[in-house]
């Protein structure tokens, strides 16, 4: 078994891995940049080493420095978390050369999946379903017959593309020529490469992914799906397991394809195969993420397993402790990502000091957090503060539970997306499971429902604002925390509801 793991990451995922190490009796070594000395992962780890300046390139992406620290402290393995170096095959190779186990798939699988074209070739020859399309550059002359064969509507896409440039939606054969030419010239201007291809348009697809797990002895299982359709600019906000769109039959078919993908890539350890799913429950391979995902907890909750423990056991050379038929999925789990960002101001990040942090707890609540009250969220990194995750016996109960948890959760001092999350959890389409990758953009484009001022809450807010002002005037700047604990008379607020009692009698 691995004895000491260096965690080449920060934030909630670093804390997540440190907790797993502690539970497994493995020493954990954190690394930190100049602005992260006070970060939670530093104080929670058994060891912690400074690795450079705030800029990620000089610290969390600094391969040489990280390997140097790993060697110096005697770590026999590195967990890369997600983001940063987690999908960097060069880093994985450098670890291997330094005699340090990289907790993840073999570099060859990372390289294969890191290349869109190589991945597509390999997966197509393994019989994995792709969005129907020409898969190569076309001439205008070829376009009509290819499009007709695929069936309208189709997308014309730049081969060198990205970011929506050189991309045109074509609903009828008549529109094809004009769209094709515009896309070509746009692609030429944007990428200096006019090659375009045609792909079937998947209307209102869902983004559904399959968690797979493989050991280094060729055993592979899938742990069900995650529904990740609630996203903004490909940034997932809410994930759940299972998906309302996936029944037992579809789950087993998607699961088997995901295992096939992993097998074709020579995969080991934890990985995720992403699919688009259309309204007719056809699914199409999108890509494979060769790492632990942010949203892995929802799978953990429905499967009753700990994926980080399993990652470490696999990296230690152990065999998977179960076979496919032993996996029992039960109940429903949902995760929301709490970001330090301001949805009312174009999602601008909102770093700064967390002056207050009230957390949700009780039945069915899990919080994977990387922050604490009093900590100053630095400017330099991803604004993910924590993940609030719920488990319940069914989807409706999970939604109700998440709403309850959101009522309890409060972050003071910085802006967060908590109110937006609340809006999503109250949206009738979300509640009914009618979600697809366009859901959140449509919700953001619509005006928030002007809430009926239920129970005169605005009046309560006005009174409260006055009470807070009176409190700070009375306490005259002294720290008034713990009014509850004050002896009668020493606080402007009294403990006992005498007046209330009298009034009602």
């Amino acid at each position: 078994m691995i004895k000491k793991i260096l965690i080449a990451n920060r934030g909630e995922i670093a804390v997540r891995v440190i907790r797993a190490c502690r539970e497994m009796g493995i020493a954990s070594a954190a690394v930190f940049s100049a602005v992260d000395r006070a970060a939670l992962h530093v104080s929670q780890a058994d060891e912690a080493y400074s690795i450079g300046a705030a800029t990620a390139a000089e610290s969390y992406l600094n391969i040489a420095r990280i390997l140097e620290v790993a060697k110096r402290c005697g770590a026999d393995a590195i967990h890369p978390g997600y983001g940063f170096l987690s999908e960097n095959a060069k880093f994985a190779r450098a670890c291997a050369e330094a005699g340090i186990k990289f907790i993840g798939p073999p570099p060859s699988a990372m390289e294969l999946m890191g290349s869109k074209t190589r991945a597509r070739q390999a997966m197509q020859s393994a019989g994995v379903p792709f969005v129907p399309g020409s898969a190569r550059g076309l001439s205008l002359a070829e376009a009509p017959s290819v499009a007709a064969q695929i069936g309208f509507p189709v997308m014309v896409k730049a081969a060198a593309g990205g970011g929506g440039k050189g991309m045109r939606l074509v609903r009828t054969p008549e529109e094809l020529k004009a769209a094709f030419e515009t896309a070509q010239s746009e692609a030429q201007r944007a990428f200096n490469d006019g090659e375009v291809y045609i792909e079937k348009l998947i209307e209102d697809p869902r983004h559904i992914e399959i968690q797979i797990l493989g050991d280094e002895h060729g055993n592979l299982v899938y742990l069900g799906e995650r529904e990740c359709s609630v996203q903004r600019r490909h940034q997932k906000v809410i994930e759940e397991a299972p998906s309302v769109a996936v029944d037992d039959d579809l789950r087993s078919r998607m699961g088997q394809v995901a295992v096939q993908v992993a097998k074709a890539a020579g995969y080991a350890n934890a990985g995720t195969v992403e699919f688009l799913v259309d309204k007719a429950s056809n699914f199409y391979f999108l890509e494979m993420n060769t790492r632990l995902q942010v949203e892995h907890p929802v799978t953990e909750l429905v499967a009753g397993l700990d994926l980080v423990h399993l990652q470490i056991r696999i990296a230690s050379g152990e065999k998977l402790p179960f076979r496919q038929e032993d996996i029992i999925l039960r109940g429903h789990a949902m995760e929301c990502r709490i970001y330090a960002e301001d949805p009312d101001n174009n999602f601008f990040p909102s770093p700064g000091k967390i002056t207050q942090l009230l957390r949700a707890s009780g039945p069915g609540i899990r919080e994977d957090s990387g922050v604490y009250e009093g900590w100053r969220v630095p400017l330099e990194y991803d604004p993910l503060l924590s993940k609030l995750i719920v488990y319940a016996s069914d989807r409706a109960s999970a939604i109700a539970r998440m709403r309850r948890a959101l009522d309890e959760y409060f972050v003071g001092g910085i802006k967060t997306n908590l109110l937006l999350i609340r809006r999503i959890f109250e949206h009738p389409d979300f509640v009914a499971g009618r979600i697809n990758t366009g859901f959140l953009d449509r919700l953001l484009a619509s005006r928030p429902e002007p809430k009926a001022d239920e129970n005169g809450l605005a009046e309560i807010a006005a009174i409260s604002a006055a009470l807070f002002a009176a409190n700070s005037a009375t306490s005259n700047g002294r720290n008034s925390q713990s009014g509850s604990g004050e002896k009668p008379g020493s606080s402007p607020w009294k403990q006992v509801a005498r007046v209330e009692g009298l009034r009602n009698e």
């Binding site: 301001d342 101001n345 174009n346 999602f347 601008f348 990040p349 909102s350 770093p351 700064g352 002056t355 207050q356 009230l358 400017l379 330099e380 991803d382 604004p383 709403r403 959101l406 009522d407 409060f410 003071g412 802006k415 109110l419 609340r422 809430k451 239920e454 129970n455 809450l457 605005a458 009046e459 309560i460 807010a461 006005a462 009174i463 409260s464 604002a465 006055a466 009470l467 807070f468 002002a469 009176a470 409190n471 005037a473 720290n479 008034s480 925390q481 713990s482 009014g483 509850s484 009668p488 606080s491 402007p492 607020w493 009294k494 403990q495 509801a497 005498r498 007046v499 209330e500 009034r503």
Partner: protein, 165 residues
């Protein structure tokens, strides 16, 4: 104690009077007893006629937010007898206007010079945090009077960056 509290479009006069260990509150011409206990910093427990409200206050860059249950309200509180709050409310009228940083960040570009004329809505300063850039715009037509934050400096939320007159 009397406070003028503005929430949304509506300004209410809230009068608070000590009544034994509790408070008597007058608002919009009605009075009622308030049973108030401080739970933690910025968290109060209110009992009003049996209804229990946990209310939280959050102040970011000088702006007050009050959270009641899962509703959130921006509130402006004025003490009508306080000189300071009067002055502040005047400052938000016409006359010179300050452009402040909406969040902590780094000033990456200053787009105007002192003495330059600017239109309302014209970009003035760009600040960056967590790899995202945000262009701050002039709230009015006028002339750049002062530049407080040169390119490259780190600024706090609420810090004045530019004054337009």
């Amino acid at each position: 104690m009397i406070y003028e509290v503005t929430i949304g479009e509506k300004t209410r006069l809230v009068e608070l009077v000590r009544l034994g260990p509790n408070w008597l509150c007058k608002i919009d011409g009605r009075s009622f007893a308030l049973d108030v206990t401080s739970i933690q910093t910025n968290v109060l427990s209110l009992l009003v006629d049996g209804k229990s409200h946990e209310v939280k206050q959050d102040i970011i860059a000088g702006e007050t937010t009050i959270v009641v249950g899962h509703q959130q309200f921006s509130a402006i509180v004025r003490d009508p007898r306080s000189f300071r709050s009067r002055r502040r409310s005047e400052a938000s009228g016409s006359g010179p206007r300050k452009i402040t940083a909406p969040m902590p960040g780094k000033v990456v570009r200053v787009l105007v010079k002192i003495g330059e004329s600017v239109d309302a809505g014209q970009g003035v300063v760009i600040i960056e945090a967590m790899k995202m850039q945000n262009e701050l715009k002039s709230p009015k037509k006028g002339v750049v009077k002062k530049l407080h934050a040169p390119e490259g400096v780190l600024v706090e939320a609420g810090q004045t960056l530019v004054e337009i007159e």
